[in-house]
């Protein structure tokens, strides 16, 4: 964010202008006034935070901005300055350690970021400069440079396409890393520029950079000698975006329009802000409470001290005179330093060691994720990857899951499943490909073995072969013969001639390939004529007359072809809803059933119809189309009108079913997530139809789900403006889903009762209308309506989303009431912004490159792994860390409380109850290891049970273990025990003659007894809480108790030359020689644990505790890759992009 703001600043002046003017090749134009080279950002990408020079101050500043670090710094400084009961080393050393380790870690991460930045910035690109091409580092590209890009390279900045090696002035581009659409998109050169680029003199006027990937408006003025400058309008089809990859085109030339941080990709990149977990927020809240306790304790003590001293003879009895310096000190200054001294004395209540332990727990705990062999995927031979360990426990708190569709829910490869010709079902009997149980379910009307008439069959297949915009991949390129589908099932019958197809939609390819299975092969389009090889291996040729393009409103597309024999045919394919009204009703009935069945199974269905056009009809259509195309105004509407006119009275020949294959166990995973009370939102850049069918397939939408649509299509209304219609629809849906529906309990249950399920669908255009309505005032109202509707829906689908819109949605939910914890999962670079925006970002190590993985907090190989990651790991981590935090506060409360109480018995003189060694070691040695072991190993419920009962996840929802109630419980427990320790020993010491030889104990014995009881109680309390005793727990718990005893003997057994006072000399041994001390220790430990034991017994045990283990069927695997945790910018290297060429 900051960086972007800075960019704006650096862009300074010209930002106030709405457009920028670019001189192509920096050539001055004859027409314009003086040639003023404008200043634009350079093409450098900066994602690093520090430089060598500012690292130390900046890093220290950042670190001490953390409330805890700052607090410890203050305590340390107080200890250095003021005469305090404990040495500054006790708090200075751990602080120094923490600061150093963090600085090293952050320095290393920034180093990696620098390296990654350099990789991108130093990448060599070819730039045309003064009639020759020069190799330049990418960062040196300036706006206006003419850049050459060859096939499979990514564009180094946003370019306007000037020249392509293809003769038709097009080039193909895949934007997989931008918006996740892996298909090839066609971009066009600017008309009339395709000649000698060196001679081209032109200026480009275009809008200022904006993040919308699909919007671009510009104008190009081409100056030719002795001619009026020609003006060409530029649209998104002329703009090549940084991050996209050139495909199937040898090379192109383009002029840079946006560079560096102003490219659409960089604008879509969201600054990585430090993610903080909810637990950390809870810790900070508790910290404040304890800080208040601490301050009030210090205030109470200081006050009491002066009250006590005011009494005659108390302040300075003859036996305890003040030094001259003390006498001279100003009274108020003295009060203040007394206050600070008390602060220091009690500061152990907020220990540095807690932060160290929490950090260690997170760091070490995250290894269990990388080690988990269930996350190992044998295909890519990788396991899970943990990029940040700060969010482990957040995995147990997720309320909203935002998932990408392409590559995440689906594998993004379409497969032709079956077709229905004239009411007869055809299924490609390819037994091996029947991976899932979807086949053979049509019991009622199984006409599998019946066939439609040959004529109809061939007509249908011809229609499939002709009605599309697929192009055949030109041979010669490396990937020409590789087939994307082959990689996955690899069992397609080897075709005589393997072909690669390119299309703007993968299901068109699937259909063409489907036709291929039945013997009709599309050979290609050459100079307006389509070639088909039919079953008899004869080549049929059709003349392509018109393509009636697909658009989401019509939801169908058609081609008009002319056969050799001169017949003019129209083939149309489209969604059932758009085809059925345009064909004869009696044909519909035969096919409708198939279509509906296929749709409910999650297949994408298309109906195919045809019509023979008479010469007159064709002539009319042809004229209409040509006229409409030439229209300058309302061209779109006119075209559609003609389309609608032509596409009538067709006859239905069949339907197809294409499967966008889901990821393994996608539906099960989604069900488990919903069972665990999470709400799943699908955010995709894909088309609505595709996305919807995927939602059906992974059971996010079910048959009974009523869909509430808020899309461009539903906003079409003659009567109302879009804005009004939007509001009307929102109102209506709100009434339906929120007001009429019974209140949904926390965590949506899939009830099969009459309770109506709602699914919500919104698309990008509508969303932006919703988020930025023309009237500013409506924005919040719209948003809240929208959110309320969404919260009452079982699933929400957002389609046609730009990456930044995905992030906007996530942000909106994140900031909604109750600030729910959000999780984003995705695999492509288009998901990066939402991965960064959500509380937890998960990357899938899919085929679409590594951007998502690198920007994610956790990366897993497959979607199905999300279930275990959340339900098992997340749950356990949350329980562990919550317990860790509560326990830490508790153990320090009952550690410091006796010390506080002791002040009432020593004249509030800041006399520590415990020896300095005990004060320092308590948190570092005596009680740190058991809780660390607990927080790493505890499994209060078995992993298998957690996986089987998704509902268990709800038990810890809403930060259940770190709310105020449990916190209060722990605090009360700590206070109870602290009181017990102190007063138990106090009553014993009413007669300090505790040894059988009549000798007496002093104050250090008192402290040691309290401390012994404390250490044992606190450790045994943890032992009581431990539900999962591995040998490590045994070792650590009993070991630290033994260590305490050993240490105490050792510490008191020697006259330590470096100590000023030998306070503990033989105190511990003497204590153990006293029977009374033993007895009081035993009874105090028992008494302080008694309520805990009672509570454990009386509390209802959580969950089933059977130890039954099911043999795990999952893949054996995982990996130990511990890659850098640096998160480079969105557009790093593009070498690992997939090439979806079929």
């Amino acid at each position: 964010m900051l960086r972007r703001r800075l960019n704006r600043l650096c862009g300074g002046d010209e930002n106030r202008v709405d457009s920028r003017t670019i001189y192509v090749g920096h050539r001055p134009c004859p027409d314009t006034e003086a040639f003023i080279p404008s200043k634009f950002c350079d093409n450098r990408i900066v994602s690093s935070k520090y430089t060598v020079w500012n690292f130390l101050p900046k890093n220290l500043f950042e670190q001490f901005r953390r409330i805890a670090n700052f607090y410890f710094l203050i305590i340390f400084l107080v200890q250095v300055i003021v005469d305090t009961p404990t040495s500054p080393v006790t708090s200075g050393l751990p602080l120094f350690f923490v600061i150093t380790v963090t600085a090293i870690k952050q320095g290393y991460e920034d180093c990696l970021r620098h390296k990654a930045d350099n990789e991108v910035n130093k990448y060599l690109v070819t730039v045309l400069e003064d009639d020759r091409s020069v190799k330049k580092e990418s960062e040196k590209i300036k706006v206006g440079d003419v850049v050459e890009v060859v096939e499979d390279e990514t564009f180094p900045c946003d370019l306007i396409l000037l020249e392509s090696s293809r003769e038709d002035g097009t080039c193909f581009v895949t934007t997989a890393s931008l918006d996740g659409e892996s298909n090839h998109k066609t971009h066009y050169t600017v008309q009339d520029t395709e000649k000698d680029l060196q001679a081209l003199t032109a200026t480009i006027e275009c809008e200022q950079p904006q993040p919308d990937l699909y919007k671009f408006v510009g104008r190009m003025h081409i100056y030719k000698a002795e001619q009026e400058p020609a003006v060409r309008s530029l649209g998104p089809e002329n703009l090549l975006l940084k991050g996209a990859t050139l495909k199937n085109t040898k090379k192109i030339y383009g002029v840079a329009v946006y560079t560096g941080m102003e490219t659409k990709m960089a604008l879509n990149y969201q600054g990585k802000s430090q993610k903080r977990s909810a637990v950390e927020k809870s810790i900070n809240a508790f910290l404040l409470v304890y800080l208040c306790i601490l301050i009030s304790k210090a205030v109470v003590c200081t006050t009491l001290k002066y009250v006590w001293q005011s009494k005659e003879g108390q302040d300075e009895p003859w036996y305890n005179q003040k030094t001259q310096k003390e006498k001279d000190t100003n009274m108020y200054l003295k009060m203040f330093t007394d206050f600070l001294s008390f602060m220091v004395l009690f500061n152990f209540i907020i220990p540095v060691s807690m932060y160290v332990t929490v950090e260690m727990q997170k760091f070490l705990g995250s290894f269990f994720i990388t080690w988990d062999k269930d996350f190992f995927d044998s295909e890519i031979e990788e396991g899970a990857l943990v990029n940040t360990s700060d969010l482990n426990e957040e995995l147990g708190q997720v309320e909203y899951v935002f998932t990408d569709k392409t590559g995440t829910l689906t594998q993004n490869n379409m497969e032709f499943i079956e077709c229905c010709i004239d009411g007869f079902q055809y299924k490609h009997r390819d037994t091996q490909s029947e991976v899932d149980g979807f086949t053979m379910t049509d019991g009622v009307m199984n006409k599998l073995h019946q066939k439609a008439g040959q004529e109809k069959e061939e007509l249908f297949l011809r229609a499939l072969c002709l009605c599309h915009t697929v192009q055949v991949k030109e041979p010669g390129s490396k990937e020409a013969l590789t087939d994307q589908v082959d990689g996955i099932d690899g069992i397609l019958p080897q075709l005589e001639e393997e072909r690669g197809f390119i299309a703007s939609s993968p299901d068109e390819i699937a259909l063409v390939k489907g036709a291929m299975k039945y013997g009709f092969t599309f050979l290609g389009l050459e100079s307006k004529s389509m070639k088909i090889k039919n079953r008899e291996n004869n080549i049929e040729e059709y003349k392509l007359l018109h393509v009636l393009n697909f658009d989401p409103v019509r939801r169908r597309m058609s081609v008009i072809v002319q056969t050799k024999s001169g017949e003019t045919l129209l083939f149309c394919k489209g969604a059932d809803s758009s085809i059925f009204p345009r064909v004869k009703p009696e044909e519909v009935d035969r096919i409708r059933m198939h279509v509906e069945r296929n749709a409910t199974e999650g297949y994408r269905t298309l109906c195919v119809a045809f019509k023979q056009l008479s010469a007159e009809e064709y002539a009319m259509a042809d004229k209409g189309l040509s006229d409409a195309r030439l229209a300058l105004q309302d061209r779109e509407e006119k075209l559609i009108a003609v389309y609608n006119q032509v596409e009538t009275g067709m006859s239905l020949i069949g339907a197809t079913a294409v499967e966008d294959r889901l990821q393994e166990e996608a539906a099960e995973t989604m069900e488990a997530l919903q069972g665990a009370g999470m709400k799943v939102w699908v955010l995709t850049g894909d088309k609505m139809e595709t996305a919807k069918s995927t939602c059906y397939a992974c059971r996010l939408f079910q048959r009974g789900t009523e869909l509430l649509e808020l899309t461009v299509r539903t906003l079409e209304d003659e009567r109302l403006k879009r804005q009004e219609k939007l509001y009307e629809l929102l109102q209506e849906y709100h009434r339906k889903a929120v007001q009429d529906a019974p209140p949904v309990k926390a965590g949506v249950t899939r009830s099969w009762s009459a309770n109506q399920d709602y699914g919500f669908i919104i698309d990008g255009a509508t969303l932006s209308l919703l988020m930025n309505p023309p009237l500013e005032a409506d924005a919040s109202q719209y948003k809240s309506l929208f959110l309320q509707i969404c919260q009452n829906c079982t699933a929400v689908l957002c389609c046609r989303m730009a990456p930044l819109q995905k992030a906007q949605i996530v942000k909106m939910v994140k900031n909604s009431k109750g600030s729910p914890i959000t999780l984003s999962i995705g695999d492509g670079a288009n998901d990066v912004s939402m991965i960064l925006e959500a509380h937890v970002g998960i990357g899938i190590k899919g085929k679409e490159g590594r951007q998502a993985v690198r920007n994610s907090d956790y990366a897993i190989p497959k979607l199905k792994h999300l279930k275990k990651l959340l339900l098992a790991h997340g749950h356990l981590y949350y329980v562990r860390i919550a317990h860790l935090v509560q326990y830490f506060f508790y153990k320090n409360l009952c550690f410091i409380l006796p010390q506080f109480l002791y002040q009432f018995f020593c004249g509030c003189s800041q006399q520590p109850l415990y020896d300095a060694a005990y004060l320092t070691m308590y948190n570092i040695c005596f009680t740190s290891m058991p809780i660390l072991a607990y927080s790493l190993l505890e499994q209060h419920i078995d992993i298998e049970i957690l996986l089987d009962n998704a509902a268990l996840y709800r038990e810890i929802a809403n930060n259940a273990m770190l709310r105020w109630r449990p916190f209060l419980y722990w605090t009360v427990l700590g206070i109870f025990q602290g009181l017990l320790f102190f007063f138990g020993v106090r009553f014993l010491f009413s007669n300090p003659a505790l040894q059988d030889n009549g000798q007496v104990f002093g104050n250090w014995s008192y402290g040691t007894i309290v401390f012994t009881v404390l250490v044992f109680t606190v450790t045994l309390k943890l032992a009581l809480d431990t539900r999962h005793w591995t040998w490590i727990n045994h070792f650590v718990i009993w070991g630290s108790l033994a260590f305490y005893v050993f240490f105490s003997f050792f510490w008191g057994g020697i006259i330590w030359p470096f100590l000023k006072q030998q306070r503990l000399y033989f105190v511990f041994a003497n204590m153990l020689s006293s029977v009374s001390a033993w007895l009081v220790i035993i009874i105090l430990i028992l008494l302080s644990l008694l309520p805990e034991i009672l509570l454990v017994v009386l509390r209802k045990p959580r969950g089933p505790h059977s130890r039954q283990k099911k043999p795990s069927q999952s893949n054996v695997g995982g990996n130990q890759s511990s890659q850098s945790s640096a998160r480079p910018l969105l557009m790093r290297t593009f070498s690992d992009e997939s090439n979806p060429v079929i």
Partner: protein
């Protein structure tokens, strides 16, 4: 596909590698199949239920109640006599001494207290002096000592620690022993006389050794100069603490109990935990089995009143006490044990009731709370 038969006990990651494709490569990247890494370490999973806790409650109850009774009986069998001799009342024999106290008086003030014992003290009698409202645990006081000086360090003898201020030097000479604790050492002298029915006074002999911790006397406290028995020479460059009447090398005639290793001094140097405390003063040893240590009768306690407490409203006591295995008289432990024992027993009964009523089917595991 990989071999995926997995057993929880399989603890090694070596032989269970996949046999399938690309074996070696997979094996290297794939996480070890160890019980630890897979979070499948064999574990004991105890569940505390009423059923398991019940016996423990009864056992604790059954053990604690007798211990408590034993402790209580022991404590009440200890004979203890406490005499306050502060002299705040007009009637008190030490009233004059307490009133006319001045640091400079050369002649000590004496007072005599008479008391009688109705019951004899049978075993060894431990004589304590007790002070009240005396903050030996005040921080300024506690740290005002130099342990290395007390341990016989020559350098610290000449250059005492800063902590001893304002009792560090006197008249440009280092104070030995320095510090507020040493300076304020209790210096009343107490003598006990048995008054025969016929009126003759017999002094009861005191033992003044064995009142300090053995380790303190033999290790922690040492006279400077090592084996040099001439303490006067060793301490010649030092000043006596301001409030002392005698120098440190004049504390006792016995060289084993003189200087820093004087046991009265060591006892005093062990700072008390609470402002009301007692410290062991002398031991009256039992002579023989026939006669009690302190038989019934009248006694006179002769006090040399040197120690002022009036200024801070303190009290001075002398305590005669016998000692048991648990130390001095203190009913607290006995009562505590009996109480806790009874509570446990009672809880045991309640739990048994609950267990019986609600939880016998499910092994007592789901008792509503």
């Amino acid at each position: 596909m990989m071999a995926s038969s997995y057993s929880a006990k399989e603890e090694d990651g070596h032989h269970s590698g996949p046999a399938g494709l690309g074996g070696a490569a997979i094996r290297n990247r794939k996480p070890d199949n160890t019980a630890f890494k897979q979070q499948r370490l064999p574990a004991w999973q105890p569940i505390l239920t009423a059923g398991t806790v019940l016996p423990a409650f009864f056992i604790i109850g059954l053990i604690f109640i007798p211990i408590g009774v034993g402790l209580y009986v022991t404590s009440s069998n200890i004979r203890e006599l406490e005499i306050d001799y502060t002299g705040t009342d007009l009637s008190s024999p030490c009233f004059t001494c307490s009133q006319s106290f001045s640091w400079n008086s050369s002649t000590p003030c004496r007072c005599v207290l008479f008391f009688s014992l109705d019951q004899p003290f049978e075993s060894n009698v431990f004589m304590y002096y007790g002070l009240s409202n005396f903050y030996q645990n005040h921080r300024r006081y506690v740290k005002s000592r130099d342990d290395s000086q007390l341990n016989g360090d020559e350098r610290s003898l000449k250059e005492p620690s800063k902590e001893c201020e304002p009792y560090r030097t006197n008249e440009n000479k280092p104070i030995a022993p320095c510090g507020a604790i040493a300076n304020s050492m209790f210096n009343d002298t107490l003598d006990l006389f048995y008054i025969d029915p016929n009126g003759t006074k017999t002094q009861i002999p005191f033992i003044k050794k064995g009142i300090a911790w053995w380790t303190d006397k033999h290790v922690k406290f040492r006279n400077p100069g090592g084996s040099n028995l001439n303490l006067t020479a060793v301490f010649k460059d030092t000043a006596k603490p301001v409030n002392w009447h005698k120098a440190v090398y004049e504390l006792d005639t016995d060289s084993e109990n003189n200087g820093f290793i004087n046991e009265d001094f060591i006892v005093w140097m062990r700072t008390a935990a609470l402002p009301t405390f007692r410290k062991l003063y002398r031991i009256i040893q039992k002579k023989n089995n026939m006669t009690p240590t302190l038989p019934r009768g009248n006694y006179s306690l002769e006090v040399t009143y040197n120690y002022p407490v009036r200024s801070f409203e303190g009290r001075k006591r002398v305590i005669f006490s016998t000692i048991s295995w648990m130390g001095g008289k203190n009913p607290f432990l006995g009562i505590a044990y009996m109480t806790v024992g009874s509570i446990c027993f009672f809880l045991g009964v309640v739990l048994l009731f609950i267990h019986h009523k609600y939880g016998n089917r499910n092994n007592g595991s789901d008792i509503p709370s």
